[in-house]
């Protein structure tokens, strides 16, 4: 009886949190479309979430592409199908690895930082300070971050795709001697608009997901040092897991 009750309490509490986070993100997005618009805040956040993730995305993409080139060549050459290497690399990156790995890297780099930043603002009373200066904290702090995430992720993913395919090219063509014409030509013929479109949809969702979880965790963190450190950890764990789960759901819907 006691177990059932505590299980019920736990479930109800979780559902409440989910509901609150839903209202939270809905308000933040709604506020983003209402004046006054703070373009400079948005640009600053895009710089933080987007531009500053370039290097980490570049390195991840390059080595992912190179490994795919290596593994793909090894598998494909057993059937004498090395010519399909470009198609294999491009499709796995554009459809799957690009959006997912890119989102995982950004969530580790920017997501945790967003939670920590908002948590510290909370500890130091900066939200009531904004309130007292007649500025809506949700609109001022959260909205730009969410919009920046939705804008940045597709762009970073496109960049990831490009570098990943180049990495595969580097290993496949330059190192292992696959014909350049086959790599590029077959790739261009096989990749359809639907593949690219699917990848963009995924990255848009991940952009929202990362900023949603990161801002909500920061906003609801206990206003103590332990509270913020716990929230930061939760952000990384929750975003990583939900990216993988949402990726499966989106893939099944888009196929």
């Amino acid at each position: 009886m006691e177990i059932a009750a505590s299980l019920g309490r736990f479930t109800l509490y979780r559902i409440q949190v989910l509901g609150r986070s839903g209202i939270f993100i809905f308000t933040a997005i709604l506020q983003a479309f209402l004046p006054p618009f703070r373009i400079s805040r948005l640009i600053k956040e895009i710089e933080f979430i987007g531009s500053k993730s370039f290097l980490i995305v570049f390195v991840t993409a390059l080595f992912t592409g190179m490994v795919l080139g290596l593994q793909g060549y090894y598998s494909l050459s057993q059937f004498g199908a090395e010519a399909a290497l470009g198609v294999m690399v491009a499709l796995s990156i554009i459809r799957e690895l690009g959006p997912v790995l890119c989102a995982l890297m950004v969530s580790g780099r920017a997501g945790s930082a967003i939670t920590a930043e908002i948590g510290i603002m909370k500890i130091t009373d900066q939200f009531p300070a904004l309130e007292m200066m007649a500025v809506d904290p949700l609109k001022y702090v959260v909205s730009p971050k969410v919009v920046a995430g939705i804008i940045s992720l597709p762009l970073l993913t496109a960049f990831f795709d490009l570098i990943g395919i180049a990495g595969g090219y580097l290993v496949g063509v330059k190192l292992l001697g696959v014909s350049e014409g086959a790599y590029i030509g077959k790739l261009a013929a096989a990749v359809t608009f639907r593949d690219i479109y699917g990848g963009i949809i995924k990255s848009l969702c991940f952009g929202l997901l990362i900023t949603w979880i990161a801002t909500f965790m920061g906003y609801t963190a206990d206003a103590t040092t332990e509270g913020v450190s716990r929230a930061t950890t939760n952000t990384v764990v929750l975003t990583s897991l939900s990216i993988l789960i949402v990726d499966y759901i989106l893939t099944s819907l888009l196929l």
């Binding site: 006054p36 930043e117 510290i120 603002m121 130091t124 009373d125 900066q126 009531p128 300070a129 309130e131 007292m132 200066m133 007649a134 500025v135 809506d136």
Partner: protein, 261 residues
């Protein structure tokens, strides 16, 4: 002027504001005095509209704060300034940007005039020349003064101070106290200070409201409070460890708990 009528606020069965009635006059510094857990911060949060009371009303210039929409509340807040206990400066902005923030958000004043206003406010708190620094580069007392400059940058008619002198050295305490008084006189505003610092409170206050467990136990001018015959007031002012205000608040009898639990 601010008038509080029959204010009640409860948290989980504890009454933090128990049917409070008081008023804060224009041109006067009113200090809300009380020990930890006396409900003074709760009262402050309700006066500013950061929290809604369970019952009662807070009138600012005739308007009841508790019934206003968020938009109307924000309009009133533009005429309020608040100095937070930890200063609450934006840590990612320079001192200049911190002070200019309310002006940039709510007015269309040109940049060069904003610069003049910020310089004047910084001169007032004696920190001209720190414009380009980040808050983390300042000491606690300096941060409080910057917080004060930011609180008055919109020329408010009401200023709230949350523990303005806690954690400051004696000289900084004196400086902040003098600033509070000077501002109050120069601008003829309503100044409300929440504090537990008796000495500095007697120096700066015109009126004092003494809170004890959510109730007002004394309300009057500095002299009235100083000459009060109420034992609880006397104990608080003298900081006496023994008296009608118990040090420990516990439901059980001490001996019972030790001997029979």
């Amino acid at each position: 002027m601010i008038r509080v009528e029959n204010l009640v606020k409860r948290y989980d069965g504890i009454t933090a504001s128990n049917h409070l009635n008081c008023r804060f006059e224009r041109g006067k510094v009113t200090v809300i005095l009380g020990g930890s857990g006396s409900g003074k911060s709760t009262l402050l949060r309700q006066l500013t509209g950061l929290e809604k009371p369970d019952e009662g009303a807070v009138y600012i210039d005739g308007k009841d704060l508790t019934t206003l929409s968020r938009k109307e509340l924000f309009e009133i807040r533009k005429k309020m300034g608040m100095l937070f206990q930890g200063s609450a400066l934006f840590n990612y902005m320079t001192i200049f940007e911190n002070i200019a923030f309310p002006l940039r958000e709510h007015t269309k004043i040109a940049d060069n005039i904003i610069k003049t206003i910020v310089t004047m406010k910084l001169e007032m708190v004696g920190l001209r020349g720190t414009e380009h620094l980040m808050p983390s580069q300042l000491s606690g007392g300096m941060m409080k003064r910057v917080g004060l400059a930011r609180a008055v940058v919109m020329d408010p008619t009401v200023i709230f101070y949350d523990e303005p002198t806690s954690g400051l050295d004696p000289i900084s305490t004196g400086v902040i106290g003098k600033l509070i008084q000077d501002l109050n006189k120069a601008l003829n505003i309503t100044s409300i200070v929440v504090s537990h610092d008796i000495d500095s409170c007697f120096k700066i206050a015109d009126n004092i409201i003494l809170l004890y467990y959510g109730e007002i136990i004394a309300n009057g001018t500095v002299d009235e409070i100083r000459n009060s015959t109420d034992e609880r007031v006397k104990q608080f002012i003298q900081g006496a460890p023994e008296g009608p205000i118990p040090f420990a608040r516990t439901a059980k009898n001490y001996l019972d708990e030790i001997l029979y639990d």
